[in-house]
């Protein structure tokens, strides 16, 4: 049940972010939309690794045989994805800054000079 909720929330976040990307015309808001999509995706990934009643995959002395663990692989994937997401977001923002300084505007429709 929890997995369903998590994945649903993640999917909704992806949709909300997508909506932002498609309708917000300010570059910053578009980037916010993208980063919300990212967060939603991460949530879906972690949700898929979760198992009801399982514990974190860290084996210390408190672990007794037969303990259920959550799937460690999605966690590992998400770690990578989060860092990559940050990298992309930062680069997008750098672009936005440069675009703004070139035009004095942050609206996406002001940057369509090369339509041919």
């Amino acid at each position: 049940m929890i997995i369903q909720i998590i994945v649903s929330v993640g999917a909704l976040l992806v949709l909300i972010g997508l909506w932002g990307l498609l309708t917000r015309r300010n570059l910053i808001k578009m980037i916010i939309g993208f980063s919300i999509m990212d967060t939603g995706t991460h949530l879906i990934i972690v949700g898929l690794g979760y198992r009801e009643g399982a514990t974190a995959p860290i084996l210390d002395s408190s672990i007794t045989p037969g303990t259920h663990f959550v799937d460690p692989i999605p966690s590992a994937l998400v770690l990578t994805a989060i860092v990559i997401g940050l990298a992309v977001t930062a680069l997008m923002l750098a672009y936005a800054v440069r675009l703004y300084s070139s035009r004095g505007s942050a609206l996406i429709e002001d940057f369509k000079e090369n339509a041919l």
Binding site: L21, Y95, F111, L116
Partner: protein, 1076 residues
């Protein structure tokens, strides 16, 4: 060799680049290039190992086997693309190393891009694929923004698209992991095979994974962002984006494609073809060259995607599949990189005050190689690949897809060829040019330095000065190597098939030699080929081989009259002449088609050498390609008699060859190409090359089509044409022939430009030949071959004579000539004899030709066509009269006072031709006997010889006697005239005529030779209505209108592009049935 070392080196170098920069620019550059070189060495080493039969290289990381750790696998395909990408990366690296500003960041990002490309190609882990996708994307994002302010906009749009794609990729990946329990692609494929992905979740996950990769490959219409990026990125980056990066992503895409179900695969393949079609459609309207290359790139990748799914569906062995896909992909990889670099170098040279330099020999040869390989012309790998692809489509009966493929290819040819011509030909200034009806007629001066005026030494030194441009040779060399490999695999890597290319290459390499040296070499090679071919052929093959190679040699010899270097003329003329030889010797469908394609493209390239030939040559190119596609369709259906009905095959073949011969409706490329080609080249085109279509039509109807359909041998096949089910075809063909003859003759009458007159005359003469051919019987074909030879003789004489005239008087307008009989007597005699031969009056050989045609037509039951043909012969007198009258008789012009007879090089072939025509006229049996015998081998003979008299059911003809009688009739009055009137006439100087004491300044108004046949024009002018041209222009206009309409999709707004991507995904999901 462990590929991970390459990875480590790239990464280590990138990480430490700032330290090297601290040490100085030189070491930084050195280490940068060293890392890229190492990449090439390792990838190349692995490729060589695999080529030597080593098993696929499997590399695990972290000391654990897959699926516990990430693994690489390198098969032949991966190794080939990886090495190719590494090569391009190395050249690109040395290309951009000269940019000083922020060089460190550039180099860091560049190395990361190389890393991403490597990983994309090698990894077998789905999530690792994502990481490498992001690595290459981020490097690209960073590098795109280096092209100035507008490149920032492009980069941002690119990022939005990449962002959406990577989110889809992640979601797909993690669901696939949840369903299959592994991230290893092979493990997933195995799990998919056992049904793990059967449900809706599996289908959706596979779908969004596929779509996310597809978006990276820039499908139509979700690719506006990519085009902006191609347009605005620096050309060095565009080169990599289009070649190395796109190829790497494609390889990654092929790796996940085993997961796709059949329906999804079909949808993706369809998207690939749509992309190919529409990208090229829209490419036609581009003015910005990098954006145009961008359209071409997306189109090519679309084609590769389509090919991948097309071969995948057939279950053909992997090597055969990669023969097609790899051929297309590798060609694109090298050619597109080369084009982007060339364009960048030209811009750079412009920026430095040069004028672009692409019209120099080496760069234009390179540009030509890149464009021709993209157009899938022989001998490039794409040619063989496309042939196989067409074979798949033909045997599958996928006619709509085939049409889209051909149309898309034609669109691409239209814009790439236009670009090539625009860039490689020096611009003409219009100073001093004559124009009539907007057509500029005369030789303008070229602006700037020129292949004709630059000394070879200057060119070489200017090339060496910018050492970067020499690097661009490497992709061309790579294409050459690949061509050899593909030709070898296709089984045509033999002397005959490769000789034309070798000859062209040799001639281009020797471009530094003086023109006449290479000219002599060309004549020798061509004559040697004629010598070599003679004993190796028989029947009509031999006759045509001699026409092609002997006539070709003669024409090449005439070309020696020009002293300049003419790199293109010698290369392409020799190539075309040799390809005619290869055509005659070809036996397999592939050989035939290859030689045909080289010949028809070669002819276009010959024509292109003329100074104003750009437009006509482009039209010619499109007709050559279009005809080639029809031919390809038929040839590739060999072995599957069911897909094409014999009638359809026959129609396609006939259309292909008629467009080569310039039959009415398909003639629009001919007048311009002939007229605007170099004058001596026109002779080659008209007298020799135009006959290829006739030979091919004969061979196809007697040998190849019967071979395909096996209608119990050629006889029955011919009968089918003659009186059987296809007789309507021969009737139509006859009408086409006769109308061509008639209309072209009329048009020829009203031309002011001598070359246009002769060009239209050629069309009309080909009409007669087609008419004779259409009879499909012994008599008709004998006439056709006889006419072909005859046409060769007199048209070569006319064009060579006219070449001399134009060379001396420097104009092509007839009313500006006049009175040339005195300074150019030999030329006059040549023209006189040629005209008599052309007119078909006794005693010369033309009479025999006409007699044969009319007799054959009457015997074949076509009196109406015979009558019309006769009528048009009568009209032909009009232009012939004008020809000799305006040029040689009458008053001499001021401009042509001091001129001399034509150069020796032109006169000698004319004398040879005069001798030949006299010989044939006096002893027609010399050629008629072999012709009748040769045709008689193919079909039941209806005519034959008794002694030297030709016998047919309706009459007989003895050429020798005709000659003697006519000579007598002609000689006696002449002698009488000379004896009787010599004393009474008063010789006047040619300039004894003055127009009422006034010299007319504008000859148009007063000169008798201008608008010569005004009264006839009133009567016949309506026939000149250029319906054919209007039709083709209308089609072209329609295509561009559609193209413009679709272009509105690309608004330039990054958000709209994002919307396109999402809507595109949705539409694809509908077609793939994901919603169900």
């Amino acid at each position: 060799m462990n590929p991970l070392i390459a990875l480590a080196v790239l990464m280590g170098t990138a990480f430490t680049m700032p330290l090297f920069e601290k040490a100085g620019l030189k070491p930084a550059r050195l280490i940068f290039l060293a890392a890229l070189t190492l990449l090439l060495v390792i990838s190349g080493g692995i490729l060589v190992n695999l080529l030597n039969g080593a098993p696929d290289l499997e590399v695990a990381t972290a000391g654990f086997k897959a699926p516990f750790s990430i693994n690489f696998r390198i098969g032949l395909a991966e190794a080939a693309v990886w090495s190719a990408a590494a090569l391009v990366l190395l050249i690109g690296g040395s290309y951009m190393i000269h940019r000083e500003e922020d060089g460190m960041y550039d180099r860091m990002l560049y190395l990361v891009l190389a890393l991403g490309v490597t990983g994309l190609i090698l990894t077998r882990d789905l999530f690792n694929l994502f990481v490498f996708l992001e690595i290459s994307s981020i490097a690209v994002y960073g590098l795109i923004g280096r092209g100035g302010e507008r490149s920032l906009q492009a980069g941002f749009k690119y990022m939005i698209a990449g962002g959406i794609s990577s989110i889809l990729f992640l979601i797909g990946t993690v669901f696939l992991y949840r369903l299959t329990g592994t991230l290893n692609i092979d493990g997933m494929a195995a799990a998919a095979g056992s049904g793990s992905l059967a449900g809706t979740v599996g289908a959706s996950a596979v779908f969004i994974l596929a779509i996310s990769m597809l978006i990276e490959l820039k499908p139509f219409p979700a690719n506006g962002w990519a085009l902006d990026a191609y347009q605005e990125a620096p050309s060095g980056i565009g080169a990599l984006l289009s070649s190395a990066q796109a190829s790497a992503v494609f390889i990654a895409f092929t790796k996940i494609s085993p997961l796709f179900g059949d329906r999804l695969a079909a949808v993706l393949g369809g998207i690939g073809m749509l992309t190919f079609f529409f990208a090229n459609l829209m490419g036609m309207r581009q003015k910005d060259e990098k954006r145009m290359f961008g359209y071409s790139s997306t189109g090519q990748i679309g084609l590769v995607i389509f090919a991948w799914f097309a071969v995948r569906g057939t279950g053909m062995p992997e090597t055969a599949a990669w023969f097609i896909v790899g051929g297309l992909l590798l060609t694109h990889l090298f050619a597109k990189a080369g084009l982007f670099w060339l364009s960048g170098l030209a811009d750079k040279s412009k920026g430095e005050g040069g004028n672009g330099f692409l019209h120099k020999v080496l760069p234009s040869a390179l540009a030509g190689i890149f464009v021709m390989s993209l157009l899938a012309l022989p001998p490039f790998p794409s040619f063989f690949a496309k042939m196989e692809l067409v074979k798949l489509l033909v045997t599958g009966g996928s006619w709509w897809i085939l049409t889209a493929l051909f149309l898309g290819s034609l669109f691409e040819a239209a814009y790439l060829f236009t670009w090539l011509v625009k860039k490689t030909k020096a611009e003409c200034t219009d100073g001093g040019a004559d124009t009539v009806n907007g057509d500029s007629l005369v030789v303008g001066k070229r602006a700037g330095p020129d292949i004709l005026t630059d000394s070879p030494a200057a060119e070489v030194s200017s090339l060496l000065k910018s050492s970067t441009s020499l690097w661009v040779v490497i992709p061309a060399l790579a294409l050459g190597g690949l061509s050899a490999a593909w030709a070898y695999m296709a089984g045509v890597f033999n002397v005959i098939a490769m000789a034309p290319f070798a000859a062209a290459l040799l001639m281009l390499l020797l471009a530094f030699l003086p023109g006449r040296v290479r000219g002599f070499l060309a004549v020798l090679v061509s004559a040697a080929a004629a010598w070599w071919i003679w004993p190796r052929t028989e029947g009509i093959d031999q006759i045509f081989a001699m026409l092609f190679l002997g006539g070709g040699s003669l024409n090449l010899f005439a070309g020696l009259y020009r002293k300049d270097r003419r790199p293109g003329f010698w290369a392409f003329s020799l190539m075309t002449v040799l390809s005619l030889g290869a055509l005659v010797l070809a036996r397999t469908p592939l050989e035939i088609f290859m030689a045909w394609e080289v010949m028809s493209v070669g002819a276009v390239l010959i024509a292109l050498q003329g100074k104003r030939a750009a437009g006509p040559a482009r039209t010619g190119m499109l007709f050559a390609l279009g005809g080639g596609y029809l031919l390809m369709t038929v040839l590739m259906s060999i072995g599957t008699t069911t897909v094409l009905s014999p009638a359809v095959a026959a129609i396609l073949v006939v259309i292909a060859f008629l467009s080569k011969s310039g039959a009415l409706g398909l003639h629009v490329w001919v007048p311009g190409s002939y007229a605007e080609a170099d004058n001596d080249a026109t002779s080659l085109l008209s007298s020799v090359i135009s006959k290829a279509g006739i030979w091919a039509m004969m061979i196809f109807s007697i040998r190849i089509l019967p071979g395909i359909y096996g209608l119990d041998g050629p006889e029955l096949w011919l009968q089918a044409f003659n009186s059987g089910p296809f007789s309507f075809l021969s009737g139509i063909l006859g009408w086409i022939g006769v109308l061509t003859a008639l209309v072209a003759t009329i048009v020829a009458v009203f031309q002011e430009d001598i070359k246009y007159t002769l060009a239209w005359s050629s069309i009309s003469q080909l009409g007669y030949i087609i008419l004779a051919f259409s009879l499909f019987d012994h008599f008709g074909w004998t006439a056709a071959i006889y006419l072909s030879i005859n046409h060769f003789l007199f048209k070569a004489m006319l064009f060579l004579a006219i070449t001399g005239v134009i060379y001396r008087v420097k104009t092509r307008l007839m009313y500006k000539m006049g009175g040339l009989i005195a300074p150019m007597p030999i030329t006059f005699i040549t023209v006189l004899i040629a005209i008599i031969a052309l007119a078909g009056v006794p005693p010369l050989s033309g009479f025999g030709g006409k007699w044969l045609v009319y007799s054959a037509l009457i015997q074949g039951g076509r009196p109406v066509q015979a009558a019309l043909a006769m009528f048009s012969s009568g009209i032909a007198f009009l232009y012939l009269y004008r020809l000799i009258h305006s040029i040689f008789l009458g008053q001499r012009k001021d401009d042509s006072l001091g001129i001399k007879e034509a150069p020796f090089w032109l006169i000698l072939p004319q004398i040879v031709l005069i001798a030949l025509i006299m010989l044939i006229s006096a002893f027609p049996t010399v050629i008629l006997k072999p012709i009748i015998a040769a045709v008689g081998e193919l079909m039941p003979a209806v005519i034959g010889f008794e002694g030297s008299t030709l016998m047919s059911a309706i009459g007989y003809w003895n050429g020798s006697w005709v000659m003697y009688v006519t000579m007598g009739v002609f000689m006696i009055p002449l002698v009488l005239l000379l004896i009787g009137t010599g004393r009474k006439t008063r010789k006047v100087k040619q300039f004894n005529i003055v127009f009422a004491a006034e010299r007319p300044y504008r000859p148009e108004t007063t000169h008798y030779a201008h608008n010569f046949f005004a009264p006839y024009r009133k009567a016949l002018g309506s026939l000149m209505n250029p319906l054919g041209r209007k039709f083709w222009e209308g089609s072209a206009g329609g295509v561009t209108a559609v193209s413009s309409a679709f272009r509105r999709l690309y608004t330039g707004n990054g958000q709209t592009y994002a919307l396109h991507i999402v809507l595109f995904t949705m539409a694809a999901a509908l077609f793939a049935g994901v919603f169900a």
